[in-house]
Amino acid sequence: MAYLELKGIEKFFGEHRAIKGIDLEIQPGEFIVFVGPSGCGKSTLLRLIAGLEHIDGGQLNLDGRDITHLPSSKRDLAMVFQSYALYPHMSVYENMSFALKLAGESKKTIDEKVTRAADILNLTDYLERTPGALSGGQRQRVAIGRAIVRAPKVFLFDEPLSNLDAALRGQTRVEIAQLHRDLGATTIYVTHDQVEAMTLADRVVVLRDGLIEQVGSPLELYDNPVNQFVAQFIGTPQMNVAPLAQLPAEVRAAAPAGADGGSMGLRPESVRLAEAGTGVPATVVLVEALGAETLIYAKTQTGAQMVARQADRANVHVGDAVGLVLDLSKAHWFDTQGCTVRNPV
């Protein structure tokens, strides 16, 4: 039986159906990431689980109990907000102990729990400060500390890293992963950053327009996306997708029957750059040398845009005529609706 179970969850904002019936089962200890473009409903879905928005349809069960219409304060969930949302008038200690105080814990228990959490998060020296006197990264840790002292049933994270600078974001991401390994708590994490989704998640839930597009482990989504949207959302740079009409006859010949009139997708690492004359003829449009790898953007004579990723440095320049060798064994095929068509095995 699932620990947290979403059954046909719906949310309306006026006439607009923002969440269109979400079914999802989450197991204890899982790290689930909701990912999707802005406006896809991922934050709304999290707020529905948190009880901060009213659920208009469907049912939400936690640990065998129906919590659909229970107020947030009774759900036993903890949330880390994008803006941290620390209590500015309270010290770090008071911020972290607030929930325990409300729950009527004894002073001794509170002190033990806060001290332990502060120790884990390197906040011991800052317990007497107010949030205003802390750096962004420290505030973030207080917000996490406020959540972990309670040992809640589920942790909810709402884009917790988006206010941090790039270096700190990477570091905190690693810390969150480590924290989850240590505490083993069930976690739901919302982000628009697919790198965070890929690195943190046990399972990723890709959302679009209030609907789940696909649920799966990060590599499952990378290797077997169910449609063109997921295929292009997961992975940087994006998967190359070109209409079959713009591709040479031998590529079209490899397409499965259902993909007629549709398109072919190929990850940049499955496109190899070759001398002009081999493969698909193309012209280099842009070269991005990132050091460890090089991205070559090229346009075929038939007008298809392709990116090739290679580990070694490329000796090509904008305007050069090149050939693109496509590894069709790695190709994804999409029908006219953008749904994946599997090659008959």
Partner: protein, 277 residues
């Protein structure tokens, strides 16, 4: 330690002069009233006006003898504090709802509330007088408290709304998630964060109610009269008694001026409508 000698530019001198002239111009009537309160009736109407004279306290004694000052002061106190508490009790939840759970109609409701302040009070005199009369509330403190509250509500809701708007809603959400009930959220999180706004709103309401004259004069007589009514007694059918009128006025405004002096920081903060942090 080196001291910087302040340098005065012509523009600064001009600004200072203008500021002082405007201030003196605004303060003159009040200052003259305070001066007159310590003159005899004869000195008060002397031409040319006396600036130097031997001050007397007889006007204050006479005012206190002829009309019970404490009675009116108490009425002013009761109506001001009463309407402030009642007003805050109504305005705070209204502002909370509008600031944190806005709907499509919120802006319109706020504008509509403000628009009621644009109507002259006299326009509502007839219906309110008849209402007070038919409910047996003429010359009663209850009626004054209710009317002062209603008159101040729009401005109170606006001020509290502006102050609450400055508080990120996520902080209140966080309190919910931490297990706070609505009441705990209001008391332990919202109140400490909004105390400045609430205090300045209350102060303003207190001052406005204390100074209110129109409804006090039209709806009260001896029993529920406020200090405004006390002052009015001295512009009486027997003619104007300038010195006593001034003494009564001074006694009426003194408490609120002293009060305002000590709370001016809060007042200014609230009146900037959250525009300045």
């Amino acid at each position: 330690m080196r001291h910087h000698r302040p340098t005065y530019t012509p523009a600064m001198i001009l600004r200072t002069l203008v500021a002082w002239s405007v201030t003196l111009f605004l303060f003159f009537p009040l200052g003259w009233m305070a001066l007159t309160a310590f003159k005899t009736e004869l000195q008060a109407i002397a031409v040319p006006p006396l600036v130097l004279f031997e001050p007397t306290l007889e006007n204050f004694t006479i005012v206190q003898e002829r009309s019970d000052y404490m009675h009116y002061a108490l009425n002013s106190l009761i109506t001001s504090i009463g309407s402030t508490i009642l007003g805050l009790a109504i305005a705070a939840p209204a502002a909370y709802a509008m600031a944190f759970y806005p709907s499509k109609a919120t802006k319109d409701v706020l504008m509509w509330m403000l628009s009621t302040k644009m109507m002259p009070a006299v326009g509502a005199l007839m219906p309110i007088y008849v209402l007070a009369q038919s409910s047996n509330m003429l010359d009663s403190l209850t009626a004054l408290v209710i009317i002062f509250t209603l008159a101040n509500l729009p401005i109170m809701v606006w001020m509290l709304y502006a102050g609450f708007k400055d508080i990120p809603k996520e902080i209140l959400d966080a309190a919910r998630m931490d297990g706070a009930t609505l009441w705990q959220e209001a008391r332990m999180v919202l109140l400490p964060l909004a105390i400045g706004t609430i205090a300045s709103t209350g102060l303003l309401c207190l001052v406005l109610s204390w100074n209110e004259a129109f409804w006090s004069l039209t709806l009260t007589a001896a029993k529920a009269g406020t200090l405004a009514a006390l002052i009015a007694q001295y512009s009486s059918p027997e003619g104007l008694f300038w010195a006593k009128l001034s003494a009564a006025s001074l006694m009426a405004i003194a408490p609120i001026v002293v009060f305002g002096w000590f709370s001016q920081k809060q007042l200014v903060q609230g009146l900037t409508f959250g525009a300045v942090k």
